[in-house]
C-alpha cells in the first residue's frame, strides 16, 4: 500500500476512536434521561410529542410490551412506504411524473427500509417521486435506525439492572434517538454535504446541452413500448444522436445525511455514494465513512457507561477494531494488486503520484483504491450497505471480504444498535463456551447465563445462516433465480449468495450485476429481510427481559474477567468460528473458486 493510503486509514481510525467516547457519553446521558444542557431546548418538543401521542413517558415496559410497541411501529412504517410508492402518481412533489411502483417492488422496498436494510432493487432517479423519497424513505431511515438503537438500549438495561421486570419504554427510547441523536447530527451533516456539492432542491430534472454530441445505439421499441428483439432474442438497436444530458435533482442531501448516520445505505440515486451528487468530494467521503461507524462505536462506550464498567465497552470496541483492520488489509491489498488479465494488455495498474492504479473497474477517480476498499469494508462491517464503488467488480478476494463481514452477522461495529446487540450475543456465546471448558456456570457482567438465555442467543446466531443458505440454495435451483445472474461461472453464484447474505443480514449492498427487480427476488429477498430483522430483535428483547429479572452476583475468584485481552481474543475467535464456519463451503464455491481459477489462468 502507498504511504498516503496508510495515512488516510490511520486518520480515519484515529478520528473514529477519538469520537467514540464523547459520542458514547452523550448517548448514555440521553438514554438515562439526563439531557445535557446544550440540547435541553429540545425537551419541550419531546414532552409535547408524548402528550400529543398519548405516551406515558414515565411508565416502564416489560420486554413483551416493548416488543409489541416495536412491532406495531415497524408494521406501520412498512405499510406507509408501500402505500406511498403505489400512490405516488396521484401525490404532489413528483415533477418527473413517475407512476405507481409495481406491487412486488413496492413490497420489497417497504420491507427493505423498515428493516434498516435499504436493499434497492429499484433505481431511485427513474422510479421514486421526491415525496416518496423524503416522506417515505427518509422517514424510515430515521425510524428504523431509532428502533435498532432502542433495542440495543433495552439489552444494555438488561445488564445494568437487576431483579426488575422492565427494560425501559420503547416510545421514549425511540423518540429520544430521533430527536437528540439522529436529527441534530443529520442537520449538521446535510449542511456540510450541500457545501461540497450534494444537491438539495425540489426542482424537476434539468436538461442541458453538452459540449460534444454523441452517437449511441438506442434500443428499438414497438408501439406498446416494449423492446423489439431479433430472431436470436437480442434487442434490436438503431443509431441515434444526442447532445442533451439530463441532470438529476431532488432533496438529496437531507436523505444522504441520515442514510449514513443511521447505517441505512439506501441511495437517492442508483449509483448510491459513487454518484457525484451523493458523494462529491474526498471530504464528503471521509465524513460518510465516519458517520457509518460513529453511533455503533459510540454505543460500545454507552454500554460500558450504563453498566458502570467502561472497561467492558472498550473490550468490545477493541475486538471490533481488530477484526476490522484484518479484513481491511485483505480488501486493500487485493484491489491495489489489480487485475492480472489487464497486465498482459499493456495497461498501467501501478500506483504512483499521478494515479491510484489497481482494479479501477467500478471505482471513482476521486476515491481511488484506498477509499473504495475502505468504504466497502466499513459499509459491510456496519449494516449500512451504501457503496461508493461497485462490489460486483471487485477482485475475487476483495469481494469476499464484504461478503464475509455481512455473514459474520455485521457485529464488527455493525448497524446502529444492531451491531452492539449482535456483538453482545456473541459475547454471551463466548462466555458460555468458556464456562463449558472450565466446568463453571457462565456469568457475564454479573449475570448468570442460563438455559433460556442461551436459547435466545442461539436463535440470533442461527436464523441468519438459515435464511442465507436456504435462500441461496432455492435461488440456484429455480429458473427464476438463475435468470437474474449477470456474470458467468463462480461469480454468478457469488452474486446470489451476496444477495441473500445482504438481505438476511439487513445490509443492503449488492453484487449489483444480479437483476433483482423481478417478482422472484423481490419477494424472496423481502422475506429474508423481514425475518433477518424481526426474528432477531424479538429474541434479543426476550434476553433483555430475562437478564433484567436476574439477581446480580458479585464477581468472585472463579469469575472470568471479560475486559482482558484474553477475553477479546476469545470473542474474536467465537465470532470467526461460529459466524464464519457456516459459510465456508458456500464461499468455497464462489469467490475462492474464482480466485483459484484466475490465478491458474495467469
Amino acid at each position: 500500500m502507498t504511504t498516503n493510503g496508510f495515512l488516510q486509514i490511520v486518520l480515519f481510525l484515529g478520528t473514529l476512536l477519538l469520537l467514540a467516547k464523547p459520542m458514547g457519553w452523550y448517548m448514555s446521558k440521553i438514554y438515562e434521561g439526563d439531557i445535557p444542557g446544550f440540547v435541553r431546548w429540545f425537551v419541550p418538543v419531546e414532552k409535547g410529542l408524548y402528550r400529543l401521542c398519548g405516551i406515558e413517558s414515565g411508565q416502564e415496559m416489560g420486554w413483551v410490551r416493548y416488543a409489541i410497541a416495536l412491532l406495531w411501529f415497524s408494521l406501520l412504517g412498512m405499510v406507509a412506504v408501500y402505500a406511498l410508492q403505489r400512490l405516488q402518481g396521484f401525490l404532489p412533489f413528483n415533477p418527473q411524473h413517475f407512476g405507481a411502483v409495481s406491487p412486488d417492488s413496492s413490497f420489497n422496498t417497504a420491507v427493505s427500509f423498515m428493516t434498516n436494510t435499504n436493499w434497492q432493487a429499484y433505481s431511485g432517479e427513474s422510479t421514486m417521486s421526491y415525496l416518496t423519497q423524503m416522506s417515505g424513505l427518509t422517514v424510515q431511515n430515521f425510524l428504523s435506525a431509532a428502533s435498532g438503537m432502542a433495542v440495543a438500549v433495552a439489552l444494555i438495561r438488561g445488564f445494568a439492572r437487576h431483579s426488575v421486570k422492565t427494560v425501559g419504554n420503547f416510545w421514549v427510547d425511540m423518540t429520544r434517538s430521533v430527536l437528540y441523536i439522529l436529527l441534530p447530527l443529520s442537520i449538521l451533516f446535510a449542511c456540510v454535504l450541500v457545501s461540497q456539492g450534494v444537491v438539495q432542491n425540489f426542482a424537476a430534472n434539468k436538461i442541458i446541452h453538452t459540449v460534444e454530441s454523441q452517437v449511441y445505439d438506442n434500443p428499438k421499441m414497438d408501439a406498446a413500448g416494449n423492446p423489439v428483439k431479433d430472431a436470436a432474442g437480442n434487442p434490436v438497436t438503431e443509431k441515434a444522436t444526442t447532445q442533451a444530458q439530463t441532470i438529476p435533482f431532488g432533496p438529496v442531501a437531507s436523505q444522504e445525511a441520515i442514510k449514513m448516520i443511521g447505517t441505512n445505505g439506501g441511495g437517492f440515486f442508483n449509483a448510491n455514494s459513487a454518484h457525484p451528487y451523493e458523494n462529491p468530494t474526498p471530504l464528503t467521503n471521509f465524513l460518510q465513512m465516519i458517520m457509518m461507524f460513529l453511533i455503533p462505536a459510540g454505543l460500545c462506550y454507552t454500554f460500558g457507561k450504563m453498566i458502570g464498567d467502561t472497561r467492558q465497552g472498550w473490550a468490545i470496541l477493541t475486538a471490533m477494531t481488530l477484526v476490522f483492520v484484518a479484513m481491511l488489509a485483505v480488501t486493500e491489498t487485493s484491489e491495489q494488486a489489480g487485475n492480472p488479465a489487464f497486465a498482459a494488455l499493456g495497461i498501467d495498474q501501478a500506483a504512483s503520484s499521478t494515479q491510484a492504479g489497481g482494479n479501477m473497474e467500478g471505482k471513482e477517480t476521486r476515491f481511488g483504491i484506498v477509499n473504495s476498499a475502505l468504504f466497502a469494508t466499513i459499509t459491510t462491517s456496519a449494516s449500512c450497505g451504501a457503496v461508493n464503488s461497485m462490489h460486483d467488480s471487485f477482485m475475487p478476494l476483495g469481494g469476499m471480504v464484504p461478503l464475509s463481514l455481512i455473514q459474520l452477522g455485521e457485529v464488527v461495529f455493525g448497524g446502529v444498535g444492531s451491531g452492539l446487540y449482535g456483538m453482545l450475543i456473541y459475547a454471551i456465546i463466548a462466555i458460555f463456551i468458556a464456562g463449558l471448558m472450565i466446568g463453571r456456570t457462565p456469568e457475564y457482567i454479573g449475570k448468570k447465563i442460563e438455559s433460556f438465555d442461551i436459547k435466545m442467543a442461539s436463535l440470533v446466531i442461527l436464523i441468519p445462516p438459515l435464511l442465507i443458505l436456504c435462500g441461496t440454495a432455492v435461488a440456484v435451483m429455480a429458473e427464476a433465480g438463475k435468470a437474474g445472474v449477470g456474470n458467468p461461472g463462480a461469480h454468478g453464484f457469488s452474486e446470489i449468495l451476496y444477495a441473500f447474505s445482504s438481505a438476511a443480514g439487513n445490509n443492503g449492498s449488492a453484487f449489483a450485476g444480479l437483476s433483482a427487480n423481478t417478482p422472484f427476488y423481490n419477494i424472496a429477498l423481502g422475506v429474508a429481510m423481514f425475518f433477518g430483522r424481526i426474528w432477531l430483535m424479538v429474541p434479543v428483547l426476550a434476553l433483555a427481559g430475562s437478564l433484567a429479572a436476574k439477581k446480580r452476583i458479585p464477581s468472585g475468584a472463579g469469575t472470568l474477567a471479560t475486559h482482558t485481552p484474553i477475553f477479546v481474543m476469545l470473542l474474536i475467535g467465537t465470532v470467526f468460528l461460529v459466524g464464519a464456519l457456516n459459510f465456508v463451503p458456500a464461499l468455497g464455491l464462489g469467490p475462492v473458486v474464482e480466485q483459484l481459477a484466475m490465478v491458474g489462468a495467469h
Binding site: 498516503n4 405516551i55 406507509a80 449511441y216 489497481g358 476521486r366
Partner: protein, 190 residues
C-alpha cells in the same frame, strides 16, 4: 396488544412530519439561501447557458478533447438518469473484451503513442458519471489532443497542471483533473 396501537400511529405521524417534511424543507430552504450554487447542481455556465455540471461527467470521443472515464450507463454513456457501473466481474470475458475495445480506440486515435495506458481510461467508473480522471490519464492524452488542435505539447501540459486538483487538504482522496473544465479551457485557447 392494542394498547400500544394509538401511540404507534400518533408517533409515526408526528415523526413523519418532523423528519419527512419539516427536516427536508428546512434543509432545502437553508441550502437555497446560503449555498444555492452547490444545492442546485454546481452547473457550469458558458455564454449565459448551462453546458453541464462540474460534478457530472460528459461523454467525449473527439480526438481534440480529453476523454473521461468509460461509462457503462445505458443506452448512452453518461446518462444522468441511469447512474451505475458495469457490474462485470473481474474474470468475466465480457469485461476483458470491453477493455480491449477501449484500448484499441485509444491506440487508433493516437497511433504513435506507445506508453502504457493508465487503467482508469479503460475501466468503467462506479457511477457512470465520474467527472474526473487522474493526472496520469490526462498526461497520456496530451500528444493526441495537442496534435489534433495544432497546439504545442507544453501548452497543453500547462493547462493540465492548472486544472489538477491535489488531494483534499493534502491527504484525502486522490489527485484529479476535471474533464469538462479542462476541455472548456482548451476551447478558449484558440
Amino acid at each position: 396488544m392494542l394498547k400500544e396501537f394509538r401511540p404507534a400511529v400518533m408517533s409515526f405521524v408526528v415523526l413523519t412530519v418532523i423528519t419527512g417534511i419539516v427536516y427536508p424543507f428546512v434543509m432545502t430552504g437553508f441550502s437555497q439561501i446560503f449555498m444555492s450554487n452547490t444545492a442546485n447542481g454546481s452547473l457550469v455556465v458558458k455564454d449565459g447557458k448551462a453546458v453541464g455540471s462540474r460534478l457530472i461527467g460528459q461523454a467525449f470521443s473527439d480526438p481534440k478533447y480529453f476523454w473521461g472515464r468509460p461509462s457503462a450507463t445505458s443506452p448512452m454513456p453518461y446518462n444522468g438518469l441511469a447512474s451505475g457501473g458495469s457490474n462485470l466481474g473481474p474474470t468475466n470475458p465480457a469485461l476483458i473484451d470491453e477493455v480491449k475495445a477501449r484500448l484499441q480506440a485509444l491506440r487508433d486515435a493516437d497511433p504513435d503513442n506507445h506508453a502504457p495506458v493508465p487503467v482508469e481510461l479503460v475501466t468503467a467508473s462506479g457511477s457512470g458519471l465520474d467527472p474526473e480522471i487522474s493526472p496520469a490519464a490526462a498526461q497520456y492524452q496530451v500528444s493526441r489532443v495537442a496534435h489534433a488542435r495544432g497546439l504545442e505539447v507544453a501548452a497543453v501540459n500547462r493547462l493540465i497542471a492548472q486544472h489538477t486538483e491535489p488531494r483534499q487538504f493534502g491527504i484525502l482522496g486522490e489527485p484529479r483533473v476535471n474533464v469538462l473544465a479542462l476541455n472548456l479551457a482548451l476551447d478558449t485557447l484558440h
